[in-house]
């Protein structure tokens, strides 16, 4: 109970930067305030987490549209929450630096993000602290690399059955 109070206070003390692009509300909490922000949003009525993904801004670092005070980093964790009662969506964009790609897991707040966070780890190499099953989900467990990162090229990895084309 006391944890919730602290979280709400932290949210109120340092207002989270926000924008509205195309009529969609976007919040930009920093990594420290991420969990507290999501928790207070959940208590406000955002009852379900629709989506969680990552964007790698390696080759597009100077993106416009970020509100003042938000320091752009290489990775951005993007979380979509939905308040069914008020029919409002909110999107959170959390800046995650390349040298420490770690954010806390939302599993305790929204268990439905479990697979999405595994996918984000698998494809982008962003880790989620406190995730109950921090493993790859789409790629084989012994896979090396995170293919949706911008520095992973297309066709750089030899594929199985490639010898088939020799006989054509």
């Amino acid at each position: 109970m006391s944890e919730t109070d602290v979280a709400t206070e932290a949210h109120e003390d340092a207002p989270v930067a926000s924008t509205a692009l195309f009529g969609q509300a976007v919040l930009y909490p920093d990594r420290g305030a991420y969990l507290a922000t999501v928790e207070s949003l959940r208590d406000e009525g955002y009852c379900t987490a629709t989506d969680l993904t990552v964007v790698d801004y390696l080759t597009h670092p100077g993106r416009s549209g970020l509100p003042g005070g938000v320091q752009p980093e290489r990775f951005e964790v993007v979380v979509g929450l939905f308040d069914h009662a008020r029919r409002e969506r909110v999107r959170l964009r959390i800046q995650v630096p390349a040298d420490d790609p770690t954010v806390p897991s939302l599993f305790d707040l929204f268990p439905g993000t479990e697979a999405m966070e595994r996918e984000a780890w698998d494809l982008f190499g962003v880790s989620f602290e406190g995730h109950p099953d921090h493993s790859r989900i789409l790629l084989p467990e012994d896979w090396v690399g995170h293919p949706l990162r911008k520095d992973e090229g297309i066709g750089a990895i030899p594929v199985q059955f490639k010898s088939a084309s020799d006989r054509r």
Binding site: D51, R87, L148
Partner: protein
């Protein structure tokens, strides 16, 4: 999260281990778990406890879904869906195709309802571009999507029947679906993977005499749905296989991010078509179908009734579909007409530029969502101002819905697992992307 409801009562099996429904370990760890004689839990009844692998090529796993089931005798304790067998990196591919080529990629995700993936990609792109789509294009999109929902749910009826032993149902379901696909082929040129809905409108106008084709569908499908009801609803064995199996509460469904018929079957009244209207859904009349107890039978019944509601929408579209253009005349995204190319050098260059370089989309990021037959299908697009998406993410409803599987199967017999997988109706192309 709310505790998983089990009807095993205070059976000691429920209290075993951490009581969780999800098996969170790798294949190797799972094997060691059972073989370890020093394990205090497996030690006493190790002969009854095992890890059973199901799939990925099991006939009832709808493609290549694989499950690790922790069993005690015939009871499923914990389980873990293992996915990725169909992963082809479509989100990465999407970053290397222009916005015009994008629909050819996303349409291959959910192959049972390809038009919805195209639609959500087109809606997101149009929002970034800030273009308006002509009325007629909007209504054509609605018509095609609702027919696609019918086809997709008919496919579910077919496979669900087959999984439960009503093999004749498989033939009937595919038969009716084929009638719808025949109409799609006439309009789009292909039965599946249409690449029909594109940013700016649709690829072509409806075919001549489309009203007759649609009326034909409206004539033949409803009586056959009545036949399904006789065949399935009135069949005690079919009901016994589904009723009370795989029960989910609304709070659990929301917590697990489940959407679509799975969420509605729990009695939770939620449909993006009504609650966050896109296209022109606020101008047609339809009911949101909800279940009562969230079991596999409700999920079956919700989908069956949704076919009728979709046909009801299609019937209204027949009267309401306006005349006009089927794609925007914004020169930025639409190539010049064929006749102009013969007489104008500029038109030829314009055409060439759109199909080679592609049109540039203003910088920004946007999330669009539609109600696909499986739930909320979302598209998160980031553009850096170039002709290709900087990031294209699809929020697949089946991907999120699959997380309910361990909770639905927990404490049930392994024979029910087949009914449960079938009732979740995952399309693996969209799960793995």
């Amino acid at each position: 999260m709310a505790a998983v409801r089990l009807d095993l009562g205070d059976d000691e099996r429920v209290r075993r281990r951490d009581g969780s429904a999800v098996l969170r370990m790798t294949e190797v760890e799972a094997a060691d778990l059972v073989l370890d004689p020093s394990d205090p839990v497996t030690g006493e009844r190790a002969d009854e406890r095992m890890i059973l692998n199901m799939g990925p090529a099991h006939p009832s796993t709808h493609g290549v879904l694989r499950l690790l089931l922790e069993m005690e005798g015939e009871t499923v304790l914990r389980s873990k869906p293992i996915i990725g067998y169909l992963h082809t990196g479509m989100e990465k591919t999407g970053e290397n195709l222009t916005f015009l080529q994008g629909p050819t990629n996303v349409t291959r995700m959910d192959y049972a309802s390809p038009l919805f993936s195209e639609l959500v990609f087109a809606l997101a792109t149009e929002q970034l571009l800030g273009i308006e789509v002509p009325e007629r294009a909007t209504w054509i999109r609605m018509l095609m999507c609702e027919l696609n929902r019918v086809a997709s749910h008919l496919l579910f009826q077919a496979t669900n029947g087959m999984d439960l032993g009503a093999v004749s149902m498989m033939i009937y379901g595919w038969r009716e679906r084929e009638e719808v696909l025949r109409f799609f082929e006439k309009v789009t040129g292909l039965r599946m993977n249409h690449n029909y809905i594109r940013p700016g409108g649709v690829a072509a106008d409806l075919s001549d005499g489309w009203q007759d084709d649609v009326r034909h569908l409206l004539d033949i499908i409803p009586p056959r749905l009545d036949e399904y009801e006789v065949l399935l609803n009135d069949q005690p064995i079919f009901r016994a296989r589904l009723q009370g199996v795989g029960v989910l509460a609304p709070a659990e469904a929301l917590a697990l991010s489940a959407t679509g018929p799975i969420l509605r079957a729990t009695g939770y009244d939620w449909d993006l078509r009504r609650d966050e209207p896109y296209l022109a859904y606020d101008r047609v009349d339809f009911d949101v179908v909800v279940g009562t107890c969230g079991d596999a039978f409700d999920r079956f019944a919700v989908r069956l009734e949704e076919i009728r509601q979709s046909l009801h929408i299609v019937e209204q579209i027949l009267d309401l579909l306006p005349d006009g253009d089927y794609r925007t005349q914004d020169k930025k995204v639409t190539p010049p007409p064929r006749a102009r190319i013969d007489e104008s050098m500029e038109a030829l260059i314009h055409h060439f530029k759109i199909f080679t370089e592609g049109f540039h989309v203003p910088e920004g990021e946007v999330y669009a969502a539609v109600e696909s037959p499986r739930g909320e299908l979302g598209c998160y697009l980031v553009s850096d101002g170039g002709p290709k998406p900087y990031r294209m993410h699809i929020r697949g409803p089946s991907f999120a819905n699959l997380q309910t599987l361990p909770h639905l199967m927990h404490g049930r017999l392994v024979a029910d697992a087949v009914a449960v997988i079938s009732s979740v109706d995952p399309i693996m192309g969209e799960v793995d992307r």
